[in-house]
């Protein structure tokens, strides 16, 4: 989980503050020193940290904090506000022309940032939003770069336009756009060669591409693990080519991703997506405000809800909700909600987004959640007859024995599940009453019943 250490650190600092209740000026200074260390360790640019410390200090020391009723909360708020404004105050979307026009997106960045992989992921996302993307192989330098794009494109079902390595990248880009026009594509994603920001000739090539075809969006792909150099990279690409948006890759590592802060603060361009894994759907929307809250250990509940919303069929959600209300929730529904949870990336990925679940707690929780147990639960339910699943009250001893045999588990496990299920149903009945007042019930997590797994 990105930022976890920073979030852990800041949480520790503020834990001590809360205990003191009221802050002295020295307290603010001491804590801000810790904040500074944490930010620097997270690879936030030195200059950005300096500016950040200054503005927080100005706000924290003085009336706001000294007169505040809850000084600890006040400092959290100030740090959070400043972090949020550093990272951009609203979440940005990739700007696309309307469907009938072709949108040309040029991807650029240093070697090894993950451009080629990101191209395919982005194309796949746009495809799922109803666009018709075409990938264009403009990296004619790195050995086998074209081949990599072709294979990546094939995996996500996106065609790749290539002209080998003998034709200049601007020419390839132009031909790709023509090809897109003739063949009904409305997005062209140009995969360019990785280059150093100080390599004049290569930077010129990007400018030439821009001059040859109308590039609607230039996207800088940056490795989230980048250190102090992130500001230099962003500044140079911004100055020489111009950046419309940024994609941060490799955020699924344990990097604290200070580069996100640095880039935002230096070039002022929005971070559009973050790469959270190998699969196409792991290219996720970046929400600066939520990320700031996450740094401060406030969790990312919004992301959780949205992730659920994208994966769950709205209609089924409504049905499920009404079942919750009537408590006519059967084992089949239970099985389904389990499957939905798996779709969302399993328990641990959901837990990461919950507020207050920091690094160390997460690893503890992960130990406790037995994904194998979920498999056993599934086996037990699958061993029931459809009637039994729909009507759990049918389950008597002999049926339970048969189910236990079928699932290859001890009868006590079947009993346990049935008992927990009953409790959950009771809870849902209570829940149902509360739900009526809400406009949209949406998705309810199956572990809402408590201790179900």
């Amino acid at each position: 989980m990105a930022f976890e250490s920073l979030s852990d650190k800041l949480q520790n600092i503020f834990k001590n503050m809360r205990r003191k209740g009221r802050l002295t000026e020295e307290d603010v200074k001491a804590s801000l020193k810790e904040v500074k260390m944490a930010l620097l360790e997270a690879d936030v640019s030195f200059k950005v940290v300096k500016t950040f410390m200054k503005s927080v200090q100005e706000k924290a020391v003085g009336q706001d904090v000294m007169n505040g009723l809850n000084p600890g909360q006040m400092v959290i708020k100030i740090v959070n506000d400043e972090l949020t404004s550093l990272m951009g105050s609203e979440s940005a979307q990739l700007q696309l022309n309307n469907g009938s026009e072709i949108t040309v997106i040029m991807m650029m960045g240093l070697q090894g940032a993950g451009k080629t992989t990101t191209c395919a992921k982005l194309a796949s996302q746009l495809k799922s939003k109803g666009r018709r993307p075409l990938l264009a192989a403009c990296d004619i330098y790195r050995p086998a770069a074209i081949k990599q794009l072709q294979i990546s494109g094939e995996k996500v079902g996106i065609p790749v336009f290539e002209r080998g390595t003998q034709i200049s990248p601007p020419q390839i880009a132009a031909e790709a756009v023509d090809y897109a026009k003739d063949n009904g594509f409305n997005v062209v994603i140009l995969d360019t060669a990785g280059r150093l920001q100080i390599d004049e000739a290569m930077m010129e090539e990007l400018q030439q591409i821009r001059q040859t075809v109308t590039v609607d969006q230039t996207i800088l792909v940056v490795d989230a693990m980048t250190g102090q150099d992130a500001v230099n990279v962003a500044a140079a690409f911004e100055e020489k080519i111009g950046i419309d948006g940024v994609i941060l890759t490799k955020m699924d590592g344990d990097t604290r991703g200070g580069a996100a802060l640095s880039i935002r603060a230096t070039c002022g361009k929005p971070i559009l997506y973050v790469g959270m894994g190998e699969k196409p759907e792991d290219l996720e929307q970046f929400y600066p405000d939520r990320m700031a809250s996450r740094i401060l250990g406030m969790g990312d509940v919004m992301s959780l809800i949205e992730k659920a919303a994208a994966n769950i069929d709205e209609q089924r959600a409504k049905e499920m909700e009404s079942k919750f209300r009537k408590a006519s929730f059967g084992f089949d529904d239970y099985l389904e909600s389990m499957a939905q949870m798996k779709q969302m990336g399993g328990m641990s990925s959901i837990l990461q987004m919950m507020p207050g679940v920091g690094g160390s707690q997460l690893s503890q929780l992960e130990d406790q959640i037995d994904e194998k147990q979920m498999d056993r639960t599934e086996a037990i339910i699958l061993s029931m007859t459809p009637r039994e699943r729909a009507n759990p009250d049918l389950l008597n001893q002999s049926r339970k024995i048969r189910i236990a045999k079928g699932a290859g588990v001890d009868i006590s496990e079947v009993n346990k599940l049935v008992k927990q299920f009953d409790q959950a149903r009771k809870l849902m009945k209570q829940f149902g009453g509360q739900l009526k007042g809400k406009k949209r019930g949406g998705f309810k997590l199956p572990f809402g019943g408590g201790g179900l797994f």
Binding site: S45, F46, Q111, A145, L149, Q197, M225, E239, G253, R256
Partner: protein, 319 residues
């Protein structure tokens, strides 16, 4: 040897001079700009070290050490601090002759690292370097995961003029290593270079796979000298420490290849890794050509590291 050193330094300087011609010796300016050693002076040094990616922890240690020396030896002149600082970092970074022992015997060089640091490219260059020294080299393309990684390495093998053993995309990397060892023995190769898939160091399964490759080499080729090099991207910040540490946990790491030093990044993280984990940098990559991988030279590296303009100048240089 003298010529090799010159080549190394020239390349590093070339790389740096591309950066901004206005920067000559920013660090000297700082030392010249202060008439006495005070807190501002130390702050300035802190800034330079942190901006070189040395990391706040290592930086704090280095500065504490400097402060102690200043006190002990009653140093008044800021200029003297420069040499003390550089010497103390150089002393830490020195590479022993024995660190290249693998070159002179039958050996297996396992190359690991996270995605996109330049593993495959580094192996290509390393093969070229060793080939030029008259060694018989074989490559094993055990990155069967990334699309077209095998093709990329094959291209490098052709450029370097060495043999390569590869498998299908998606096949078991262990079996590629197995075949490569057999081939190395049959052809009486001196050095077997093993490319592995890039993996984020916090992905357990992939890290375990490295352990498996390791065991295959131990079992099938026990007489070979073992060298394991972690490739680190010179632009990476503090996360590189965690990378090195995690790789060390699954396979005995004997050295570092620090890549992409031809840009504006200083690769200062290498100092922190050397200080905290004791893993020496053995090679650095300073360009895109096959001969742009060089043996590490602590003197040149530290000089380059300190050759940073003060923040203001750096900003001006960009515009």
């Amino acid at each position: 040897m003298a010529e090799e050193k010159k080549g190394f330094f020239r390349r590093l300087v070339d790389g740096l001079s591309k950066t901004r011609s206005s920067i000559v010796s920013g660090f000297d300016n700082i030392f010249a700009g202060y008439s006495s050693i005070d807190d501002d002076f130390y702050d300035e040094i802190e800034e330079i070290l942190v901006m070189g990616d040395i990391g706040i922890k290592a930086t704090t240690n280095i500065i504490d050490e400097l402060k102690e020396k200043v006190k002990e030896e009653h140093i008044r002149d800021p200029k003297e601090c420069r040499q003390i600082l550089m010497d103390s970092i150089k002393a830490q970074m020195n590479v022993e002759e024995t660190d290249y022992a693998f070159e002179n015997q039958k050996s297996v060089v396992l190359v690991v690292g996270v995605n996109g640091v330049g593993k495959t490219t580094s192996i290509g260059k390393l093969a070229g370097l060793l080939q030029a020294e008259g060694k018989k080299v074989i490559m094993a393309a055990a990155d069967t995961f990334r699309a077209a990684a095998g093709e990329q390495l094959t291209e490098w093998a052709q450029r370097a003029g060495v043999a390569i053993v590869s498998g299908q995309e998606g096949s078991d990397p262990g079996s590629v290593v197995y075949d490569a060892i057999a081939s190395a023995k049959a052809k009486d190769a001196d050095i077997l270079l093993v490319d592995t898939a890039g993996r984020l160091h916090n992905k357990k399964n992939l890290m375990n796979e490295l352990g498996k490759i390791n065991r295959i080499i131990d079992r099938e080729y026990p007489e070979a000298y073992r060298e394991t090099l972690v490739v680190l991207d010179g632009t990476t910040g503090q996360n590189a420490l965690s990378q090195a540490r995690e790789f060390q946990a699954v396979t005995p790491v004997s050295g570092i290849i620090l890549t992409k030093l031809d840009g504006t990044a200083k690769g200062g993280i290498a100092v922190a890794i050397h200080a905290e984990l004791g893993i020496p940098v053995k090679y650095i990559g300073v360009g895109e050509n096959i001969d742009d991988l060089q043996k590490f030279d602590a003197d040149a590296f530290v000089s380059a590291l300190f050759d940073i303009a003060p923040a203001e100048t750096a900003e001006g240089g960009l515009s």
